[in-house]
Symmetry: C2
Subunit: 276 residues, 2 copies
């Protein structure tokens, strides 16, 4: 496996390659990421993974500074998972000048975007830059970041990028907690409480499967359950998979999404609802 | 020369081509465009020219509806100039869904952008889409649209597109008028008056070459000269070539830009000032 830090080195390695499978990450990898690498390796070669903590997608007061950087351990895991090339640029390589060209995706002010102004613009910008550096045939993102996946699919389609976007299923701990780099911020007591986020989403999915259609009441009950246990809730929301907007009457491909803070840690999760 | 109307046909033809030279146009071609095609043919092969009147870059009340569509004559001229492939998509091919991903370039509210809200966002979006469809090694734009050229160079660099942007010199009629598809809107009397736009820019360049540094006074004199002859002036502005912003003290690579209306026709022009 090769580790490169500049776009020029990367292009030298990828010259003439037409089946590149790409997994962008911010590093601090866990099993969820490694499943994305395995999915990529089944789709194309070489497998390129990027590791870049993108300042553009962090707001003021967010965790850009303390976000864990673990390059050596990440490389060991990537190699074992079948990655061929790791691209780990520094900030000056990615942004040699102030970024004045803005990529503004849809739904940038919805769901997580309502609580993280500029976040999805930062994500869209860095992913478009990485796509143009790597020029992949396939790119893999996790369903854990469901809104991000939706936005990047839309961006790829509307900007006519010749890339197939593949989605990896969310990987969970045995108690249901979705794997996330940010789980590392949790205290032992918070870690014990954290699976409740998945539990309240499961309860909504179960209620809808059982015929429940009062989404507002289901969302409120979930918020209350979290707040009673010390969470600060950003949102719990039933949305249409096709648009990520509130479902219209009779719309049956749904997804339930939530974001909430436990102490100083913001966690997100979601569950798709099987068609009724 | 091949004429294709869909991105799929185009990709079929360009498969494996790595030296594509691309000239995006809105059709209604004149000698200025054909010089861009010749410049492209000197840079790479095959030469692809697109013809697409992009609704996204026209404002309400602008000339989208009456912009001249002359595909057959355009194709004859393109063939003679050395073009290999003409890509002429319709609006549904370019925008099969509402464009919700926005590409917002810098300087979008400066100069022409101040008078045409959304124009450069529309230009940036369609050019990025075309770049991703054509995947050129070279792309050619005219200096006549100086702000557009600046914006697209910035976009290409900041989004890490592997494309060299080449600039074609402005082609002028013998009396100095810059060639433009919109010259066709002018009455005979307006056509006789139109070269004054170039004349006032030349006067500013001459004054700066002669040591003039009171750019505000030069701009005002030019505005007055135009208004006295029936023009409605959007702007006359001395700017730095490097930033397209007002020059700082001592900045010596300058460009003078203007936009003004003659009757119902909006004309633009610019002249670079040689370093002092």
């Amino acid at each position: 496996m090769h580790l490169v830090h500049t776009a020029a080195e990367l292009r030298g390695m990828l010259d003439g390659e037409r089946g590149v499978a790409f997994v962008p990450t911010m590093g601090n990898l866990h099993t969820g990421h490694l499943e994305l690498v395995r999915l990529a390796a089944g789709a194309g070669r070489p497998v390129v993974s990027s590791i870049f903590v993108n300042p553009l997608q962090f707001g003021a007061g967010e965790d850009f500074g303390r976000y864990p950087r673990t390059l050596e351990a990440d490389c060991r895991q990537l190699k074992a998972a079948g990655c061929d090339i790791v691209f780990a640029p520094d900030v000056a390589e990615m942004y040699p000048e102030p970024q004045t060209v803005r990529v503004v995706p849809p739904l940038a002010d919805e769901l997580c975007g309502a609580f993280r102004p500029g976040h999805f613009e930062g994500v869209a910008t860095v992913v478009l830059k990485l796509f143009n550096m790597v020029r992949p045939r396939y790119a893999v993102f996790g369903k854990k970041d469901y809104q991000q996946l939706f936005i990047l699919r839309t961006l790829t389609r509307q900007l006519n990028l010749p890339i197939d976007i593949l989605a990896g299923e969310t990987v969970r701990a045995a108690d249901g907690l979705a794997l996330s780099s940010r789980n590392g911020y949790l205290s032992a007591a918070e870690r014990a409480e954290a699976p409740r986020l998945h539990a309240v989403l499961s309860a909504i999915v179960g209620a809808i499967a059982g015929g429940g259609r009062d989404y507002g009441a289901l969302e409120s009950a979930a918020r209350d359950a979290l707040q009673e246990h010390g969470w600060r809730v950003d949102y719990v929301s039933v949305r249409a998979q096709a648009t990520l907007l509130p479902p219209r009457d009779g719309e049956d491909r749904l997804v339930v999404l939530a974001a909430a803070h436990l102490g100083g840690t913001r966690l997100i999760d979601n569950l798709e609802v099987a068609s009724q």
